[in-house]
Amino acid sequence: MEQARPKAAKVVDAVLGVAALPIWAAAMVTRGIARTTAPIARIVLHPPLIDERLHPARAVDMLANRGRRTRLKAGDDVQRLVAVIVPAVVQEVLNTLDLTTIVRERVDLDDLVATVDIEAIINRVDIDEVVRRVDLDAIVDRIDVDIVAKRLDIDAVADRIELDRIVERLDLDKIVARVDVDAVINRVDLVALAEQIIDGIDLPEIIRESTGSMASEVVRDVRVQSIEADERVAHIIDRLLRRGRARHTDAPGEPESLGGGSIKVDT
């Protein structure tokens, strides 16, 4: 494909050479005629023995002047005409053309951009001046903080926070000094809290283990085992009597149940 192009060019050049031959020949003939007729034309335009004012050359000069004036005038008219017509024509042409497509297809934008010295453009921009012109308040007013907050990955932010460093910089003594400890204590239900703690660590059991006598341990075991025996006996009797429902053993004047633990009874 690439080799075909020089061949085509050579053919075109040959055709043009053939076409130029008559023109060259005409030019040579004209030049020969002009060279031959030049003395004759000089005698005709400037005949000897005749007053110079009556020379035909003078008439020729006058005609040339008139022709030049006419040409100049016509040139002005043409320029005016062009000034009127060309914009309209160009406008019409542009309207019919899809310049964007043409540029996209014909222009190598990458190559064009590669030639642009972006560094030089940046250097010419006064960033401070640009920033100074920005109305940050207006921008902030237009931002929907809720949407921004929803899109925030709080976990990721938290992961990036170095809490140790923050804590190291905190003056905890100062913070604690500003806390109204009495008010905090007043708001805490200390009794309920103490009961919860005692419940959690089973303090009665600890007290029993540390101070309980052998006798009290034996009594406790006997009581527990007798309760288990009660349950077992009741269960057996209820099964013998084919009772479906559990016994109603709630004491009078007592809440339905105090909740809590239960003894597993194997039957």
Binding site: P204, E205, A251, L258, G261, I263
Partner: protein, 161 residues
Amino acid sequence: MTARIDPIPKEVRHFQGRRAGLITRALAAAIDLGVVAVAMAAIYLGFSAVLFLYRPSSFQPLTPSWELTVVVGYLVLTLYLTASWRSGGRTYGCHVMGLRVVDRIGQRLHVASAFLRAVLCGIFPIGLLWVAISRENRSIQDLIMRTSVIYDWDVRPRVRG
């Protein structure tokens, strides 16, 4: 506003305030019988000591009749039960087994109720077995007197009155 440590083990808190079963009550009754027996022995020894001090020369060991022993024993039992149920709602047997006797509204027995219940318990002790049959863990005496025997391990009574 005072906090109170519940001395009762977690695993049996659920049972506190509920009517006790047959085994626990029978054990308590057995202990009470032992108490009465000890009391009878103490009475016998005390009476013998008084007689010995009064007439040492003619002193002979007492040989009370069976009927007298039963009658005295019944009287001691009735007195003991009445006094115990009226005073703290529990006999020594109930105390050991963690039981308490309450009336129909969960309060300590009136002296008359305590006495009548004691009389019934002495006359018809086998009525205790009805606890095993009853859906509400009640003995015959409980049904007649409308009383209940509840698990109550706390030293302080759960009832007022």
